[in-house]
Amino acid sequence: MNYTEFTDEALLAQIVDADRLALECLYQRYSTRVFSLSYRMLSDQGASEEVTQDVFLNVWRRAASYKSGRGKFTTWLFGIAHHRTIDELRKRTRGRRHSIENVDDFLNLESSDIQPADAAVANSEYATVRKALLDLPEAQRAVIEMSYFGGFTQAEISEKLDQPLGTVKTRMRLGLKKLRAALASKLRSTEQ
């Protein structure tokens, strides 16, 4: 069977049928993205490896629970990856809340990390999303970056920014909706 032609959803259906090669194909497609996200949030290679492995094991165990009508596969996958990474991040910072003034600490591009074979593709996706983020109003971008990359809860952000909780919630909601609209059909995941 030539899995390279399979959509993500078709691979997932194979995984429900306990097809390990289908999982490996999804791993080949998305492990770099999952690992990159975790590595940038945790700054710990070992922990990021654990997270990445857990994420794909979760895909294996939970494949049947994915409902295509509720969103794209990549949304589901990156949701699992982010949630798992946030858990790890909060475990590490419990009792010594980390201080993140500038999320660019997480986003700095280190060219030595980038593998040449996929660099242009990855950089194009990176640039596309970074542009969409930069196009957001600064107040919306700040709350999204603090929560998604920094692991802060909305209550913590409210306190840190000295803004009403309702305002933080509204900015998160508006920012996410704008991001979705700006990036519709622009990324690899939408072409599967």
């Binding site: 080949q28 996200l37 969103g71 949304t75 660099a119 194009s124 509204t170």
Partner: protein
């Protein structure tokens, strides 16, 4: 029964849920509410999609090769554990049984013997190998409908040129007014549901207008410079939002003007570079970057006999440009 007060409270927490930014209690409330509220489930799906895009906002770091071996070993462990496993895994949707299509005993289908093939990632259009110009006529054919519109396009533009300036100015004013309204609402200490809807509508309208303003400016520029020949249309792919470009050659035969839109900013350490194609060779053109709307206008010098020019392309290159084009073509087109 879905308590409307609960609905309002949970609804305002959906974005926080999508970003994993809720305390545990609030998260649990959202999950309980989602089991009985289709509206919130639907909105959460949209917000999750917005959040999922953020996974692309970090630079790419390749995991070590041994990680795949570890995953394989872990899957072996799953295989050994599953037949006697009595507790099913928990998902966001509650307890599920093992996927129904698996064998009745819960075991796994045996993996094929031998090495696992390396399965290439399906590349998006902008990562596809450089297309030989011999093949580019196929691309031109794919856009024959667009090219056929060129004559109509020019005639209509010439007729409308006098009205474009007024439209641009009027729409600029509308965008400014809408942006100001959004700012006023965002400065309020507490934002109501009505405010929220109003901001969404205003922002959407402003975005649409901004795009129109830029389209108009672009077309205005093409038609106001005079003496330009029928344009060649360029495309970065078949998707509706793929980058587009128009290249026009000057009647003098020694200049060309390339206008692009919809291009993402070039990756850090990179620029876009134009390549002009003559019979049997490609000549390096200027490097450029794009503005926040993905627009750029590049003035190019043609060499030799302009009739030899048969097309052009745009690639991603290291800052400073290259002598030979890279494999990463973002726009490609042929002379009409």
């Amino acid at each position: 029964m879905n308590d409307p007060r609960n609905h309002d409270a949970v609804s305002s927490d959906l974005a926080g849920y999508a970003l994993d930014a809720l305390e545990e209690d609030a998260r649990r409330l959202v999950e309980e509410h989602l089991t009985e509220c289709d509206d919130c489930t639907s909105e959460l799906a949209q917000l999750m999609e917005g959040a999922g895009n953020l996974a692309f906002a970090v630079p790419s770091v390749t995991p070590p090769d041994y990680l795949l071996d570890r995953l394989r070993a872990a899957l072996e462990g799953e295989t050994a554990r599953m037949p006697s496993e009595s507790t099913a895994p928990v998902t966001e949707e509650g307890i599920i049984g093992r996927p129904g299509a698996r064998p009745a005993d819960g075991g796994l289908a045996p993996a094929p013997a031998g090495p696992v093939p390396i399965l290439p990632i399906r590349n998006p259009w902008y990562a596809s190998p450089r297309l030989a110009w011999a093949v580019s006529t196929g691309i031109a054919a794919a856009f024959v409908g667009v090219v056929a519109l060129a004559a109509v396009f020019n005639t209509r533009l010439n007729d409308r040129i006098d009205t474009l300036s007024a439209q641009v100015a009027a729409q600029d004013r509308d965008v400014a007014t809408m942006s100001a309204s959004v700012s006023v609402i965002e400065q309020k200490a507490e934002v109501t549901q009505t405010d929220l809807q109003r901001v969404s509508v205003l922002q959407e309208a402003a975005d649409t207008l901004e795009q129109q303003v830029n389209d108009l400016r672009w077309l205005q520029y093409v038609t106001s410079t005079g003496d330009w020949l029928t344009p060649s249309f360029f495309s970065g792919g078949l998707q509706p939002q793929a980058p587009q470009g128009i290249l026009v050659t000057h009647s003098s035969g020694d200049r060309a003007l390339l206008m692009v839109n919809g291009l993402a900013p070039a990756p850090e350490g990179s620029v876009y570079q134009v390549w002009l194609t003559y019979e049997g060779r490609e000549v390096a053109g200027k490097t450029f970057t794009v503005d926040r709307y993905g627009y750029a206008v590049i003035d190019l010098d043609l060499i030799g006999d302009a009739t030899e020019y048969i097309g052009a392309s745009v690639t991603v290159e290291p800052t400073g440009g290259s002598d030979t084009p890279s494999d990463y073509v973002v726009l490609i087109g042929t002379s009409p």
